[in-house]
């Protein structure tokens, strides 16, 4: 019995949908070998100086909550002798760390300065004042407060995260070593225990200008390192089918530069020690395919500023005492500079513009087999 034309058409369409999709004429994959907040190196972008060291901001905060000079001296004297491995007794060490950790005040009672950073008075830390920052114009506005990207010279760049943290000494790159920020420290120490991130570029001919598809996905394996501690190239990774970690963008390749066409989401599992996961909204991305086979790129978007604050809060007293980062001060800066997605109730912005720089080396990918998916 012959099928009626509409039925036959529907069946053909269904079969077409089930059939394997033709692979792009050219596909290149990379495993991410470096991922840090994009920090532009500029000598004078903190015209009022850098933020004070831990000794100074501890004194400032303790005075602000009403501790007497005598009490402050006692706490910090104990701290000086009680820093990790110091000569202070365990009790003195614990007391100093405790006094500093609980230097917030709620209803006059000591409060945890990292869990309740709002309990410490806002010190209005110094932030970046410059024309330059990496990133993208995420909101279509080119106000005086926005930056210009030093590479693309795109104006109206939104990167308030860089503005917020850029005047912390440990967050600043140096000319002799641009990859020496706290984000670099984190990546260096976390990369061996992070699932690998895979960037894939698909197009008809990646040697020519034209439309391409960019995927940013999570692998099932770690990215191994070579003997020089560089991410090993040409390794094969299985792509995690979990849709949460599948980011796909239509993009355009022009003169070796790939730029995503329209904003999209960027979600990727990171590390509970630093930022548990990235969840950039209205994200944009650009990549450069280098002649040596590697890739370098920037992804920018709006991130929940509390997720970024978590990286500081989770370190707690160690971030302050051992790395000189003012945690409550950073909390206020992130909150104040947040520039997107206001809370419908409070009206406060919940997200902050940010940009991250990544590098990748060539890799191969294979899909996860059905049995492997079932067994997960």
């Amino acid at each position: 019995m012959a099928m009626k034309p509409p039925v036959r058409s529907a069946l053909l369409l269904a079969l077409a949908a089930l059939a394997p999709q033709p692979a792009a004429a050219e596909t290149r994959s990379f495993v991410v070998s470096w991922f840090t907040a994009a920090a532009y190196l500029e000598e004078n972008n903190c015209p009022h100086g850098l933020n004070p060291d831990a000794e100074a901001f501890f004194r400032r905060d303790l005075a602000a909550v009403g501790e007497s000079q005598e009490q402050i001296d006692a706490i910090l004297d104990a701290r000086a002798g009680a820093v990790v491995g110091g000569s202070g007794t365990p009790a003195a060490a614990a007391a100093a760390a405790n006094a500093l950790t609980f230097r917030g005040r709620i209803d006059g009672k000591p409060a945890h300065a990292y869990a309740f950073p709002g309990s410490v008075p806002d010190a209005h830390i110094k932030t970046i004042e410059s024309k330059w920052a990496y990133g993208f114009d995420l909101d279509g506005k080119t106000g005086a407060a926005s930056f210009e990207d030093p590479d693309t010279h795109e104006k109206g760049v939104d990167n308030e995260y860089f503005r917020a943290i850029g005047c912390h000494g440990p967050e600043r790159p140096s000319a002799a070593d641009p990859n020496s920020t706290m984000w670099a420290y984190a990546w260096h120490n976390l990369r061996q225990s992070l699932p690998a991130w895979i960037v894939t570029v698909e197009g008809a001919d990646l040697s020519k200008d034209g439309p391409v598809v960019v995927k940013f996905e999570k692998a099932m394996e770690f990215a191994p390192l070579d003997v020089n501690s560089h991410t090993m190239a040409d390794k094969t990774f299985r792509i995690d089918p979990d849709p949460r970690w599948h980011n796909e963008y239509k993009a355009t390749l022009k003169s070796g530069q790939i730029t995503t066409d329209t904003p999209g989401g960027f979600r990727m599992l990171y590390d509970s020690y630093w930022v548990p996961e990235f969840d950039l909204r209205r994200a944009r991305m650009r990549l450069t395919l280098n002649p040596d086979g590697t890739v370098v790129g920037i992804v920018g978007g709006y991130e929940n500023w509390r997720s970024l604050y978590f990286a500081y809060a989770s370190f707690g007293i160690n971030a302050e005492d051992q790395a000189g980062l003012d945690v409550p001060g950073t909390y206020y800066a992130l909150k104040r500079l947040a520039d997107a997605d206001p809370d419908p109730v409070t009206g406060e912005n919940t997200r902050i513009s940010a940009a991250f720089r990544f590098e990748g080396v060539p890799a191969f990918t294979v899909p996860l087999r059905t049995s492997q998916v079932r067994d997960r």
Binding site: D53, A54, E55, L76, R79, A80, G81, V83, V84, G85, G86, S87, G169, P170, R172, P173, S174, A175, A176, D177, S180, M182, A184, Y185, H188, N189, L190, Q192, S193, F222, D226, V227, N228, S229, Y273, D321, Q322, A323, G324
Partner: protein, 444 residues
């Protein structure tokens, strides 16, 4: 001479003294040594001594690695103060550790692998020095000795995760422990066992009878716990037994001056350096006097807490906050702190190399493993971790070499040390850090 030909260095004289049975060890006479005086007549090497020397936060990348490899290397800029000892130093560059996908704990993972061969320092693992002490430290008064110069009893030496060997942070207390009432001068004209030691030994003997009964009445878990406890008691008994013997004279042994004043215990770098100087001298005398064959010295903690007088900013904070100088190519303040480590090493080597033993020095009889917690301190990197060894373990290890073993695990040095100390061990470490490749080109 002929009368001594059949006598080994372990020969003891047995007899009574003051109504107490004592054994009297014979001195390390020339007839026990070979013609060169650098080994025992039997062909066995002189008793080698193993030590560890730890200083936190390493050196500046690119400034400590010699440019050439092999023998006769040229000391790199940061290690130039050690040039007088270059022929007794092996420098190892390019070594790293493998985390095998496990989270890295900055400052802890480096020492964990250097000392236990395992990224996580698995609970059952003993540290390198402890393994060596098990092999060579049984016939000395102290199985091992641990000191720390930064005011805290930190030590990486451990029998297991729960049995650690804490360090002595006070040079005065250390002096009292080693050269106090229980010290028997090996060069003293007469010898009489200390009444206190005899009393302690007597008490332990009675304990020994009771523990047999005790062990029969407890469960398996408690038996294991008691066994660990009684093992330490047996070690104490052995040590007391040793102190019942007249020690062999040691030409190089002399009791250090006890009137030296220690600096305040703490993390102020000047104080720690002064206390390190005292510890270096005390340890050298301790080893020369045969009180131990294993020691551990910690100049500063991992994540070094060193700070200058009047500053609360530690060396560690500086590594994070300071930028790399574009002209110099390194972090200047970080470099300055690291030079304190180099200076301390120079002082330490002077103390050990300044004690003459036969044709060589005390340093020659030692094998000292120098390690740290990071490669590039600003990133707390775990690759290119600076490692060195000092001394030849009484001629068992060639010295004066720079070995560039890029990508190999730091455990290769630990395995080499164990084999140089005469241990019959073929592999060491776990996971990606396990190795069966000592630096055989250095082993004699």
């Amino acid at each position: 001479m002929s009368a001594m030909r059949f006598t080994s260095r372990r020969t003891v004289l047995r007899g009574m003294m003051g109504g107490t049975a004592v054994t009297v060890g014979l001195p390390l006479l020339d007839c026990f040594l070979n013609a060169n005086g650098n080994a025992l007549a039997s062909g066995k090497p002189l008793p080698a001594v193993f030590g560890t020397w730890f200083g936190g936060l390493g050196f500046s990348q690119g400034f400590w690695e010699p440019k050439t490899t092999g023998a006769n290397y040229t000391m790199a800029q940061q290690l130039v103060p050690l040039e007088p000892f270059r022929k007794k130093i092996n420098v190892f560059s390019g070594l790293k550790l493998y985390s095998d996908g496990k989270p890295i704990q900055p400052h802890a993972t480096g020492p964990a692998v250097c000392y236990t061969g395992d990224v996580e320092s698995a609970p059952h693992l003993a540290s390198l020095d402890s393994l060596i002490a098990d092999a060579v430290g049984q016939d000395t008064r102290f199985r091992s000795l641990e000191v720390a110069c930064h005011g805290a009893p930190d030590s990486f030496s451990r029998r297991s995760a729960t049995v650690r060997n804490p360090a002595e942070p006070s040079p005065i207390a250390f002096y009292a422990r080693v050269f106090g009432a229980d010290f028997a001068d090996p060069n003293a004209a007469d010898f009489k066992p200390s009444p206190q030691i005899m009393l302690r030994k007597s008490v332990l003997s009675s304990v020994a009878e009771q523990r047999q009964r005790f062990m029969q009445d407890v469960g398996v878990a408690d038996k294991a716990r008691l066994d660990e406890y009684f093992t330490s008691l047996r070690e104490l008994e052995n040590q007391l037994q040793l102190q019942m013997q007249k020690p062999a004279p040691l030409e190089a042994c002399s009791v250090p001056n006890k009137n030296e004043k220690e600096a305040p215990l703490g993390s102020v770098v000047d104080d720690a350096m002064e206390n390190h100087r005292l510890f270096a001298a005390l340890l050298a005398h301790t080893v020369a006097c045969g009180q131990t064959r294993v020691f551990n010295l910690m100049l500063s903690s991992a994540q070094s807490n060193f700070r200058e007088t009047g500053s609360a900013d530690t060396f560690h904070v500086v590594t994070h906050e300071e930028g790399t100088d574009a002209v110099l190519g390194y972090q200047p303040k970080t470099y300055w702190f690291q030079q304190q480590t180099v200076e301390a090493l120079r002082v330490f080597l002077m103390a050990f190399d300044g004690i003459k033993e036969g044709p060589g020095t005390l340093l020659d009889r030692c094998l000292i493993f120098n390690s740290t917690d990071t490669g590039y301190a600003k990133l707390h990197a775990i690759d290119n971790i600076p490692l060195m060894t000092f001394g030849s373990a009484a001629g068992r290890l060639k010295t004066g070499y720079h070995i560039a073993a890029t990508g190999d695990s730091v455990t290769r040095v630990g395995l080499t040390c164990q084999q140089a100390m005469g241990m019959q061990v073929g592999r060491w470490g776990s996971g990606g850090n396990q190795t069966n490749k000592p630096f055989s080109e250095l082993l004699v």
